[in-house]
């Protein structure tokens, strides 16, 4: 029954430690950094993620092979010393395609997350700051958006606009903002009653200055974690779309369209290296970003719930 009794520890025992700690004053940022580096998994994840970034964006430094150049005599080669991840059905180096594919996948992830964050913060700030009708309209819009799983609209929109890098980025970025909007709005709502906002309003500052100079900096902490989850979500969306053959088309390599090969049972069975490596890279990247996001969230707000 030990675990049941933790209540007493919280309620009765401490009170004593707090006063001591108060003597050493650290800024919230420093405290957050300290907590983040305490989160060992998050630190490891950050290092691994940086390595993935370096080998993807510095791909030509790590492989001499052309990711799109075909070589029919080298088809379906198993991993060896010349092709450490083997070759695909057109004789292209899987290693080169995985690294170059990482470029595209990460690029899509980061830019789409940037777009959705921008929209999300804009709408969330407007809803929270202006309240009333603006809030009502934006929140109903968010409610409706949330009844469509993003990937479903993405499929429809890409079916209409046609596949391609820019389309995929715009569609992903344009569809996954509702969660950010909700988060930012919630933060703004709690800020609206606070003195610093009232003081700024009393000074007669224009709304946009209050929003950008006084409020948005206070949202940054929880937003950081949200952004990392948006990046991993966008990477997955691109991979998912490309896997279904509706994302970024071949020959441009992405982790998603490389995995698409696995939909062919022969490839799945006979040439597993063609899909295992991009799958592992996707998984590791997603795990790393999620760990980083978790670390950031714990660092800035230890109380918040997992999402």
């Amino acid at each position: 029954m030990n675990s049941m009794r933790n209540i007493f520890v919280k309620k009765l025992a401490p009170e004593s430690g707090d006063r001591k700690k108060a003597e050493k004053i650290e800024t919230p940022g420093q405290l957050a950094m300290k907590r983040f580096f305490h989160h060992k998994l998050a630190v490891v994840a950050t290092i691994v993620f940086i390595i993935i970034l370096i080998i993807s964006f510095g791909a030509p430094l790590f492989t001499p092979y052309d990711p799109v150049g075909m070589s029919l005599k080298d088809m379906h080669q198993a991993p060896s010393s010349t092709h450490i991840m083997g070759t695909d059905n057109l004789g292209r180096s899987v290693f080169a395609r995985t690294l170059y594919g990482g470029r595209i996948s990460l690029l899509v992830g980061i830019t789409a997350a940037a777009i959705s964050t921008f929209i999300g913060v804009f709408l969330g700030a407007a809803a929270g700051y202006f309240g009333k009708k603006v809030d009502m309209i934006i929140m109903r819009l968010t409610d409706v958006m949330m009844t469509f799983p993003p990937l479903i609209i993405m499929l429809t929109v890409v079916a209409i606009t046609g596949p391609g890098l820019i389309n995929v980025i715009l569609v992903i970025g344009g569809l996954v903002w509702p969660q950010t909007t909700r988060l930012v709005r919630g933060q703004f709502l709690t800020m609206m009653g606070q003195e610093f906002v009232l003081a700024a309003k009393a000074q007669g500052l224009p709304d946009w200055i209050i929003i950008f100079r006084h409020c948005i900096p206070n949202v940054m902490a929880p937003l950081m974690a949200r952004i990392s989850f948006a990046v991993s979500g966008a990477i997955l969306s691109e991979a998912g779309l490309s896997f279904l053959g509706i994302g970024i088309p071949s020959p441009t390599p992405t982790w998603g369209n490389m995995m698409q090969n696995a939909r062919n049972l022969d490839v799945l069975q006979l040439y597993p290296w063609m899909w295992i490596f991009p799958a592992v890279f996707t998984l590791v990247t997603i795990l790393c970003i999620n760990f980083i996001g978790d670390g950031l969230r714990d660092a800035f707000d230890p109380k918040q719930l997992i999402s």
């Binding site: 029954m1 675990s3 609209i153 069975q269």
Partner: protein, 320 residues
């Protein structure tokens, strides 16, 4: 209670309206119009401008977008979703047939996720910081980050090809009795894989929720009353802890639908997902519209159901 449910239903009506508008407008964005599907490049060469106009008129494409929306909505209310461009089949019939199969897959996936997630969550919450807790919490991290399509291909590779205990796809064997056992044999692998991510999420929430509830004053009251440990855990703690978990299960529904689309594609499951996927590839708009509508309605219904279940299990909501 009745009034509460009625109010929730009334709130949903305008949302349903907006959903139909979005479903319609999404396809309106498409370049060209439906007439293009009936007029191939070749046939256009032999047609006069008037002939083309006649085809457009016969399809109702000459009217303005709002008029066409109203007409579409009118047919929709009567259960008419039009005909597939490609298959020349009634979309409503096609969808109903496929949706049944999808519901089998999604329903069992969600059920497995809820049962496994809750049981494991309670189990590890009672053993906080034990090997079980650390191990399963760690694994759940991987589970949450594991997208359905990657889990799907890995599962297919491992359990249908390397160790061939499950079929590589389909819903029934091509030969044989096509009975319930055959269905289950085909269902297990995709359903379990569909459930992984959600089981992991539900487990983490249940654990968190149990640990929160166990700290509450009323648990101390129950202990001070001399209740048995079993009674405290299952009667006093679990009932409270599961209330927020219901929301999480409800929120999983849209993700289960998306996951099912991938898994149906990978496992050749003859459900709505495979139909939708092919419709997207061939731009079969009536099917896309019908499927979109169905998916949004399902999510909406899931949210509604969560609200109702909430009211049943939490007396504080019921007597609001």
């Amino acid at each position: 209670m009745g009034r509460y449910i009625l109010r929730r239903l009334l709130i949903s009506i305008p949302i349903i309206f907006v959903i139909t508008i979005i479903v319609f407008a999404l396809v309106e964005l498409a370049p060209g119009d439906m007439a293009d599907y009936f007029l191939s490049d070749e046939s256009i060469q032999y047609m006069s401008e008037e002939d083309i106009q006649a085809v457009r008129e016969s399809l109702g494409m000459d009217a303005s977008a709002p008029t066409r929306y109203i007409r579409w909505l009118g047919r929709l209310v009567q259960g008419d979703l039009g005909y597939s461009f490609i298959r020349n089949e009634n979309v409503m019939e096609l969808l109903t047939r496929r949706i049944k199969n999808s519901v089998i897959l999604m329903g069992s996936g969600l059920l497995i996720a809820a049962v496994v997630g809750i049981i494991l969550g309670v189990f590890i919450s009672l053993r906080q910081y034990s090997i079980w807790d650390n191990g399963l919490t760690g694994l759940s991290f991987i589970g949450i980050s594991m997208p359905a399509f990657i889990a799907g291909i890995i599962g297919l590779y491992l359990f249908a090809i390397k160790i061939p205990i499950f079929p590589t796809g389909g819903m029934y064997s091509t030969r044989g009795d096509r009975g319930l056992m055959d269905l289950l044999w085909h269902l297990v692998l995709p359903a379990v894989i569909l459930s992984i991510m959600h089981a992991a999420r539900i487990m983490r929430y249940t654990r968190f929720s149990m640990l929160e509830v166990i700290k509450q004053d009323y648990i101390v009251t129950a202990e001070a009353k001399g209740m048995k440990r079993r009674v405290i855990i299952y009667r006093h703690a679990l009932k409270n802890a599961l209330i927020p978990v219901i929301t999480i299960i409800g929120l999983s529904v849209p993700m289960v639908i998306v996951g099912a689309i991938f898994l149906e594609t990978i496992y050749n499951w003859p459900g709505m997902g495979t139909l939708y996927h092919r419709a997207v590839l061939s731009r079969d708009y009536p099917i896309i519209m019908g499927a979109n509508l169905f998916i949004a309605m399902t999510v909406l219904a899931a949210n509604l159901l969560v609200d109702i279940i909430y009211a049943i299990v939490d007396p504080r909501v019921r007597y609001e």
